[in-house]
Amino acid sequence: MDFNMQADTPETSAFRKEVRQWLQENMRGSEKLRWSASWSTRENEEEYRFRRNLAGKLGKKGWLFPMFPVEYGGAGLTIHHQTVLETELAEYGLSLNHVFYTIARIVAPVILKWGTEEQKREFLPPMVRGEISVWQVLTEPQGGSDVANCQTRAIRDGDRYVVSGQKVMVGHHKPPDFLWTLVCTDPSRPRHENLGWLHIPANLPGITIQPMYMMMGLKNTVFFDGVRVPAKYLVGDENNGWRVANTHLELEHGGEGRVGADPLVERVVEYCQKTKIAGMPLMEDDQVRDTIADMMIDLNTLRRFNQRNYWHRHTRNPHPYGGAQQRYFQRVMRLRNGERLQRIMGCDALVQDLSVHEVVDFEYAVRTGPGQLHGGGTLDTDRLVFARRVGLGRPTKEKAPETI
């Protein structure tokens, strides 16, 4: 058993040196930037530009998707190289996901698994090199967590699909290049056998995007009004969309794993060391210390779940229920931590005013509690997936879909 993410073989040690030096050069100018969370309304243009630019540079070297084959824009490296990149980026408070927060992190592996050779050669390189932005466009107004109940129609008409329908609560405030979309390709067929996935160029006529102002930031409604999408953009076969969805959803639902830790506890400790009541730092109050201990233990547990899932995913041995478990735990944990932050910090936990405390993002952490209970399917779908994978009340266990 080896949890170490910094232990290098001779091969990765040379790679670490290379990455470290490369980052020293390419992170110049980022010193004063304050990373904001994805989809945050507090994001500023300067830091977004920096991250997109960095993604492009990493992508050129194949480092954005280090384990992807070279012919599709990756670097053909191992899990150990990827871990080096993740841990070195973490030194700057970033991760591969965060540098390039378009949903391509999930879409590209799905295309790698389900796309034809032609599609992989056409669709993957720009995504893998970090040149384009892709939105995941799944949720529908009437469907919610019931993703398979998809009403957006894509009816074949010659060499095109004619797409009509509406998706909600998707994307962010930067325009997409592609919309990665689940559609109903044949309404007459039974549930789960009537779906398809389209990788739709966002500039086609008939697509309208409207902003939605939401708890976690800016999201959008996307309307498709008779959009004519060339058939080559169908990934996986016609009516095979649910199997493609399973790969996608497993990655989105925690199975992706992660290395690196949330620095929330360090920030809270820093705040509690600086803030005094009647001359005594909060950090010396027993109740504050007990609360921080609980927070730390929860965050460490989450870090270990993430690392376990990362290991299982990248060794191609998907954990049977690890994804669903991680996401369920993460959600209830965030709610608990939101309450703990309020208990410790009072209204400072609710306020974005940086002049009150120099540590950013407590407010975001509190808001994330209720705000992220549902993204990508509710807390209850997590538990439903878990039950099927463990085979509760069933003679058979559903297998975790293979991810890449």
Binding site: R289, R308, R383, F386, G393
Partner: protein
């Protein structure tokens, strides 16, 4: 990074799993827990012959010099039983105390005997029920001629029943903490099993017990020796609790498939599923916190805080795993003939043993963020 067990560990695991199945079948195990006859000398002897006592010790003392994780894989399977007996108390903790603090002579005479199962010294540390820090060591050790007199009472001594002797923490005349070896047959020593919702625990009283000078392991650095030994031992106890949680999870999941009410298996009810999800979170939180602490010990990294964390999570996890399983099993799970009942009473006992989760969380915080300035000192100065 590599989160697999090694081949050796897989082998240890298999041998231990076979042992548990053969030697501790559920119908006997549940009976032992019900009648509180949890020390089974025959089971203990067989385990000794497999080399599971003092596994961590160097070969010269009769141990197998395994890694911490190797040893933990065996204890994880024992926890599935849950196999009762002083495997941990004597075979791990007492062995580590003697190894860390004993004289050469004591090591040579005691450690091989611990490994063979002939000597079963049981640690008896704090006096009061609700304290696991140094301040809770009150039993006194006073000089008398060439020897000592030990006087006091230890409220909660796990596995006392099995003891051939005790390793007792005692306060010396100048307030330091000593560790002494006390033979079970000593005059003035009495053992009173604790009766109630706990198992394998007893109150051990030392009424003016006379000791020779050679029975002292350490006269002044008892707490340091104990802390060092606990750091290396606790993750093994955590592994035992993880194995127990895994067993509970497995038989609970199986029950949701076979128990039919309202015309369907209960696992079809989402509320029942919810209990299983929460159970699994506690199981895996304990599993990976334990593995991480073991890995830190095996790699020579600072481990003290991680060990406190693991003990807090594993004790809490075992306790909660039982509670969630009780929600699923309802009435039948509270029958002493059911394995869950043995787990439940043991989980409550181990929640206390060597410190509650709260104690270990506070110890973890004190290590990571020591309080530099003691407010009490200021108050005292003022009142003087």
């Amino acid at each position: 990074m590599d989160l697999r067990l090694t081949e050796t560990q897989e082998m240890f695991k298999k041998v231990a799993a076979d042992f548990v199945r053969a030697e501790v079948p559920a119908h006997l195990m549940t009976q032992w827990y019900r009648t509180k006859e949890t020390f089974r000398p025959e089971v203990y002897r067989k385990a000794a012959s497999l080399g599971w006592l003092g596994m961590l010790l160097p070969e010269e003392y009769g141990g197998a010099e395994t890694s911490f994780t190797d040893c933990a894989t065996v204890f994880e399977e024992l926890g599935r039983g849950p196999v009762p007996g002083p495997f941990f108390a004597a075979g791990v903790l007492a062995a580590q105390i003697v190894f860390a603090g004993g004289s050469d002579e004591q090591k040579k005479s005691l450690l091989p005997a611990i490994c063979k199962g002939g000597s079963i010294p049981i640690p008896a540390i704090t006096d009061k029920a609700a304290g696991w820090g140094a301040e809770a060591v009150e039993t006194s050790l006073t000089r008398s001629g060439s020897g000592f007199i030990l006087d006091g009472s230890k409220r909660f001594v796990f596995d006392a029943e099995a003891a051939t002797g005790f390793i007792v923490a005692a306060r010396t005349e100048i307030g330091e903490i000593a560790l002494v070896l006390v033979d079970r047959a000593s005059a003035g020593l009495s053992i009173k099993p604790l009766v109630g919702f706990t198992v394998s625990a007893a109150e051990v009283t030392f009424e003016k017990v006379r000791l020779s000078g050679s029975s002292v392991i350490t006269a002044s650095s008892g707490w340091q020796v104990l802390s060092a030994a606990l750091e290396k031992s606790l993750p093994i106890l955590c592994a035992y609790q993880v194995g127990a949680c895994q067993e509970i999870f497995d038989f609970t999941a199986e029950y949701t498939r076979t128990r039919v009410v309202f015309g369907q298996p209960i696992g079809r009810f989402q509320r029942v599923q919810d209990h299983c999800v929460d159970l699994s979170v506690h199981l895996d939180a304990a599993r990976y916190a334990t593995y991480e602490a073991l890995w830190r010990l095996d790699s020579g990294l600072p481990a003290a805080a991680a060990v406190h964390e693991a003990k807090a999570i594993a004790s809490e996890g075992y306790y909660q795993a039982c509670n969630y399983a009780h929600m699923v099993f309802a009435g039948p799970g509270t029958d002493y003939g059911h394995p869950l009942m043995a787990h439940s009473v043991l989980a409550h006992t181990l929640y206390q043993y060597l410190g509650t989760p709260w104690h270990h969380k506070r110890s973890m915080m004190d290590l990571l963020y020591p309080i530099s300035w003691i407010p009490l000192a200021g108050c005292l100065a003022l009142s003087l």
